[in-house]
Amino acid sequence: MIQMIVKRLGLILFVVFGVTLVTFFMSHVIPGDPASLIAGQRASEETLQSIRQQLGLDQPVWIQYFHYLGDLLTGDLGTSIRTQRPVLDELITFFPATIELAIAAFAIAIVLGIPLGILAALKKNSIWDNLSRVFSISGVSIPVFFSGLIVILIFYGKLGWLPSNGRIALDINPPTHITGFYILDSIFTGDMVALKSSLQHLILPALVLSYAQLAVITRQVRASMLEVMSQEYIRTAVANGIKGRLLIISYALKNALIPTVTVIGVAFGSLLGGAVVTETIFGWPGMGKFVVDSISYLDFPAMMGFTIIISIGYVLINLIVDIIYGLLNPQMKQ
């Protein structure tokens, strides 16, 4: 097990190298000159040339790439063309917000999705099953920009229960920076005012973001539960008088969860991606908007930094999925 983990962590190096290579050349192949976006609408050739020189864009692409790799080895992700700030600083500013939102959405999706799936499977073809089906189908088919606006309209516009925008109320200071996650930081520092406000701001975007994944998880759990429940060992267990919670949780669910874990792993990746739209609607100061703006500005260093971090994230998530696999299924430990 430990050997596997070490091996996989070593793999990250190769993944990062591959990702930098592909992203760097892809982003440089797109026609477009960041200098002309910075210089304003009526920049002269001299101005453009001076900006290109400052950014190192006047050199051949492969030299630019080697410079980038060299800096990367020393932990320098470069300076953002658009904001003129070190990319690493930008990532540190925006990344925790996105991760916090994604984790909250993820937790909601799992906590609600698994029981709903079990319920749907056990009461197959009942009203609960049908309700959960309606719920799931709308989850996958209603786009976030629509469901987002609807919940804002109801909970902010009509009821006035929850805020519409941002991560914390404007007149409340964010908790002291420890992890960058407002919820955790405010718990650590005992700042209850910040905690309350952060939670209020987190609920709606997390719910909206979780909806699609919640639907997928529910359907997956239902399907694999049904499959497991029809297997012979369950029939044997039932024949032996095992029933109720013991049967469902210890006998059926444990096996049904194996394929679900894969889906959940993928779901977390989609949550990070899906956060872009959610962040825009809820004014959530996360990675999503930063990256979209960077792309439209052809801000290579920012795009590269983001891609590297996300790919490391994916490798880690896959690793965690595999570890959980092993815990659920002893056969896979080898």
Binding site: I30, P31, G32, D33, S36, L37, A39, G40, Q41, R42, A43, S44, E45, E46, T47, L48, S50, I51, R82, T83, Q84, R85, E90, T93, F94, I127, N130, L131, V134, G148, L149, I152, I154, Y156, G157, K158, L159, G160, W161, L162, P163, S164, N165, G166, A169, L170, D171, P174, S197, T280, I281, F282, G283, W284, P285, K289, D293, S296, Y297, L298
Partner: protein, 535 residues
């Protein structure tokens, strides 16, 4: 079973709707509201605070350094943190004293002498003097970014005495004064050099801080969330509003709801198609003024389809546009058809200049005269402006009426800029707004053959007579003579039609009725004179 299910669903939906409606019906009108009754979220208290103005902006801003940024949305944040040698006077494009109480220009227009007013102090306590002004401009020129390009004609900056600074230009450039009133004329404190890292002239520091003598200074920037300005105690100007909060709200519908609830005072991100829904709100006033933003089509007169080199074909395209429908379909009426390249609102605009009208027959006749049949053209545009999609479709149908096939080529914004620079298009959609209040900002950029490409002459238009006249207009200090020359040029270029001038857009801004003292200056579109505003 299905019946039962639909009952349950129906009940849930009714319950949600009932709660929503009931809350609404019971909600007290804003005048009756007591603070206790509206406490659902802490954020609601911010806009109602009479000392604080809350402005919703659609996106976060980039580097705040005046020597770097060429972005209007950033200018509005920092404009009030700095002072300039001169300023625009109220709502006009006239120039009034700023840091300089008076100034003189030499006979040949190349030497400008500014006498500074006493008593101006930067936010860190450093006094504003001639050395500081010189240091600020030297820094801008050394950084050699967009703003330096504006001052490329400055050859020397000299300090004659502690309160007198002299600019020597390499050539006569009458709009010079006007460039000093814009954002790149902001004077930065020389103490910025104390924050220098690796020879960056303090760029890193000023990217996130302000260091000027204006009435406000930036005190907080929560990235992706909000920016806060508070009073600069050292400033000579004493404003009423204690703080200004720029709040990033990306979604227009959310902005509308926040404006309705009084959570924000000004909503900057509401597109024209949602303006009507804001108009009906009781507490909201709609600012509507003609802007200097021109929306037009570049006709590639030398590198595009060969037929476009014929003046008659270009005129035909001009006559093919249904200007009135374009304004009403694309801008919902919040725009006016242009007359000549200089928009209404800048001196030099002339009501006697020829304006193309919608005349399909004339357009067809001109095409026939030119001997052009089955013409197929490509229209380049990007996602930079939300309305371009509709506009492109309208133009396509207009041209179909005169027998011209138009293929639409939509690309990413950065790509479109590159293609414009290289001239890889037949027709392209564009917008232009002036950086200083002088006809130069339109005429010399659009028509001088030295400016082919992104620099401004995006039609790749060349006419040596026009070039000479433009030079004459640009190097003469007599405004009425210049106006005459520009009129002459306008007559030529309207005849030769290297562009299709569509419309100048209106500036629309929904604002709470509580906000007082807002002045719209077309040269400083979207920029607030915060020290004159109150609630």
């Amino acid at each position: 079973m299905v019946k039962k299910l639909s009952y349950v669903l129906l009940m849930i939906i009714t319950a949600i709707l009932l709660t929503a409606c009931k809350e609404n019906a019971n909600a007290p009108t804003s005048s009756e509201t007591t603070p206790d009754e509206t406490t659902p979220t802490e954020t609601e208290t911010t806009a109602t605070n009479p000392d604080q103005l809350v402005i919703a902006i659609p996106a976060d801003v980039t580097s705040l350094d005046p020597a770097i940024t060429m972005d209007n949305s950033t200018w509005k944040i920092i404009y009030n943190s700095y002072e300039r040698l001169v300023d625009y006077d109220g709502a006009t494009t006239n120039i009034k004293p700023g840091l300089a109480e008076k100034w003189e220009v030499s006979e040949d227009g190349k030497t400008w002498t500014f006498h500074l007013e006493d008593g101006h102090v930067f936010s860190d306590g450093t006094p504003v003097d001639a050395e500081a002004v010189k240091a600020s401009f030297d820094r801008t020129l050394k950084i050699a970014n967009g703003p330096a390009g504006v001052y490329s004609m400055v050859s020397e900056i000299r300090v004659d005495d502690p309160m007198t600074v002299v600019f020597v230009l390499s050539e006569n450039f009458p709009p010079f004064l006007s460039t000093l009133a814009a954002n790149y004329g902001n004077i930065v404190s020389p103490t910025v050099m104390e924050h220098e890292e690796n020879g960056d002239l303090g760029q890193n520091y000023l990217a996130e801080n302000t260091l000027g003598s204006g009435p406000y200074k930036l005190t907080e920037w929560k990235k992706g969330d909000s920016l806060k300005l508070e009073i600069n105690e050292h400033s000579k100007v004493k404003p009423t509003l204690k703080s200004i909060l720029f709040r990033i709200v990306g979604d227009p519908s959310v902005q509308r709801m926040q404006l309705e609830k009084g959570e924000i005072d000004i909503a900057e991100g509401i597109p024209v198609d949602q303006i009507d829904s804001v108009k009906g709100l009781e507490n909201v006033a709609l600012i509507q003024e003609p802007s200097l933003l021109a929306d037009y089509i570049y006709i590639n007169t030398s590198k595009g389809n060969a037929a476009l080199q014929d003046e008659k074909v270009r005129q035909a395209l001009n006559y093919a546009m249904d200007y009135e429908s374009l304004v009403s379909a694309v801008q919902l009426g919040y725009a006016t058809q242009m007359r000549g390249p200089i928009p209404d609102g800048i001196w030099g605009h002339d009501e006697s200049v020829h304006q193309y009208n919608y005349d399909v027959e004339k357009a067809k006749a001109l095409l026939a005269e030119a001997g052009v049949e089955n013409l197929t053209l490509e229209l380049l545009y990007s996602d930079n402006k939300t309305w371009w999609e509709t506009e492109a479709l309208a133009i396509q149908s207009n041209l179909a009426d005169i027998g011209v096939t138009l293929n639409l080529n939509k690309v990413a914004y950065a790509t479109s800029r590159e293609m414009m620079e290289k001239g890889e298009f037949d027709l392209a959609l564009g917008v232009w707004s002036p950086d200083f209040g002088d006809p130069y900002a339109f005429m010399n950029y659009w028509f001088d053959s030295a400016n082919h490409g992104l620099a401004g002459n995006r039609a790749f238009y060349t006419n040596s007579e026009v070039d000479n006249l433009l030079k004459e207009a640009a190097t003469n200090n007599d405004q009425s003579a210049r106006q005459e020359t520009y009129k002459q040029i306008q007559d030529i270029v309207m005849e030769e039609a290297p562009y299709i001038l569509l419309y100048q857009k209106d500036f629309i801004l929904p604002m709470s009725k509580d906000v007082k003292g807002f002045v719209y200056n077309p040269m400083l579109e979207g920029i607030y004179f915060l020290s004159e505003m109150s609630k």
